[in-house]
């Protein structure tokens, strides 16, 4: 199967290697294998695979990771634009099918 990868060079993911203590939580929680631990530091190996779910940031005990957390849902973004608010994910509508 062709690999599913979304747009290039758009995500807000940022890792501050100086703060990182190499605990490995980010490698544990990331659903797309964006991080590896090398020489006791986390490293981003493929930024474009990041879906900005925010799991790494939430679980980094030293705040070394920043990501603009959000749900990649067009309907939520469009609703937000129409209402002049942030993306509004109302799951009763369409998304979140699983």
């Amino acid at each position: 199967m062709a690999r599913l990868e979304y747009l290039k060079n758009v995500v807000t993911l940022n890792l501050d290697a100086d703060k990182c203590i190499g605990c490995g939580r980010c490698t544990e929680v990331c659903p797309h294998g964006v991080f590896v631990i090398e020489d006791r530091k986390a490293q981003i190996i493929d930024r474009d695979l990041c879906m900005e779910c925010g799991a790494c940031q939430m679980n980094c005990p030293v705040d070394a990771i920043y990501v603009g957390k959000g749900v990649g849902c067009a309907q939520a973004v469009i609703t937000g634009v129409l209402r002049g608010t942030e993306p509004d994910c109302d799951c009763s509508k369409n998304c979140c099918g699983s």
Partner: protein, 349 residues
């Protein structure tokens, strides 16, 4: 809504508490309920009561699994715990599944901490470990839960299917268990919900086309609405159905990273095959205006429908979707408006 399974619960008594016990086998009503949820029938009420549940004959040393109160999440978890003893701590996620609820924060640190205290978990079990589904991690800070409750979090595998292997390996997940994929079967099961939720908009639009198709230079003709209108409705429905079914099914193979581009190909395919089919049977292809109108409208529709599938996909980022919406939606809208305009002009010439 309390589900049938919950009503028929038996209870166990543990440390002087009555705790509902749930089976690990799903019965026909669980299966039917799951099927209905897939078709968006009563999906938002498909929930279980938050709290603590027993699986098998658990004691103070048995593992604790955290789940959402969307019944399908709960059912999927308990059905993978056959032959084991354990506790399930169900959070109040307003009937939303783990991943989506974690995205909103309802499956989150605050609710988890509150629920641990509410059920008195530290008196039910002697250990201080919780198994939280990995897809709950976007809402939960493991270190904060530890600080506030003393419970350490272990993130379980992405899929409940891997739970037995994870437990047998001493609560260790392989790299594969940690990855979210989006295989064909996971994409196909999303089609019904997309179909049902999109259908009401498409049917409303189709009804407008049907009624407006009766317009002509002499006034209004019901016969024209039926002939020309039916044709328009069929083209619209063909575009919608193709996008809803083929978008998810062919997702990895449709060229381009942009979902709107993937949808565009489907629209072009519908035009091509529709043209071959209709061209022989009707005078549609002789009507240049109408043809131009559909060449604009069908790809706009299919592109938009597939773009909306980003919400159900497992790999799109908000930043990416923002960019795509900003660029693609104005183009889709322009094509649709222009197409509708041409189609209306076509009614009068």
């Amino acid at each position: 809504m309390m589900s049938r399974t919950m009503k028929e619960n038996s209870f166990i008594t543990h440390n002087g508490r009555r705790i509902p016990k749930v089976p690990t086998e799903l019965n026909w009503s669980d299966t039917l309920g799951g099927w209905k949820a897939r078709w968006a029938i009563g999906r938002m009420k498909y929930s279980v009561e938050p709290g603590i549940y027993a699986i098998g004959s658990p004691d103070a040393n048995s593992p604790v699994f955290v789940s959402a109160n969307y019944k399908m999440s709960f059912d999927r978890l308990r059905s993978r715990l056959a032959g084991r003893d354990g506790w399930i701590l169900v959070l109040d996620t307003k009937g939303i599944n783990v991943w989506c609820a974690a995205g909103k924060g309802t499956f989150g640190t605050e609710e988890l901490v509150k629920r641990i205290e509410d059920v008195g978990l530290s008196e039910i079990v002697g250990h201080r470990t919780l198994i939280v589904p990995q897809l709950g991690a976007p809402g939960v800070s493991a270190h904060k839960v530890k600080q506030q409750t003393g419970f350490s979090l272990v993130y379980g595998p992405v899929s409940a299917e891997d739970l037995p292997a994870f437990l047998d390996a001493g609560m260790r997940a392989t790299d594969r268990m940690r990855r979210v994929t989006f295989p064909l079967k996971d994409r196909i099961v999303l089609i019904p919900v997309e179909l049902v939720t999109g259908a009401k908009y498409v049917l409303a639009v189709a009804a407008c086309f049907f009624l407006l198709a009766g317009l002509n230079p002499e006034g209004y003709s019901v016969a024209l609405a039926i002939s020309h209108g039916t044709q328009s409705v069929l083209i619209l429905l063909a575009g919608f159905l193709a996008a809803v079914v083929l978008g998810p099914a062919l997702l990895p193979w449709l060229p381009g990273r942009w979902f709107s581009a993937k949808g565009l190909w489907i629209g072009l395919a519908v035009l091509f095959f529709g043209g071959l089919f209709l061209g022989r049977r009707t005078e549609l292809l002789d009507d240049r205006l109408s043809m131009a109108a559909w060449i604009l409208m069908v790809p706009a529709l299919t592109s938009f429908v597939v773009l909306n599938f980003t919400g159900a996909s497992t790999y799109t980022s908000l930043s990416g979707v923002r960019r795509e919406v900003k660029i693609a939606v104005p183009v889709q809208l322009a094509c649709a408006v222009l197409g509708i305009g041409l189609w209306l002009v076509g009614c009068f010439v």
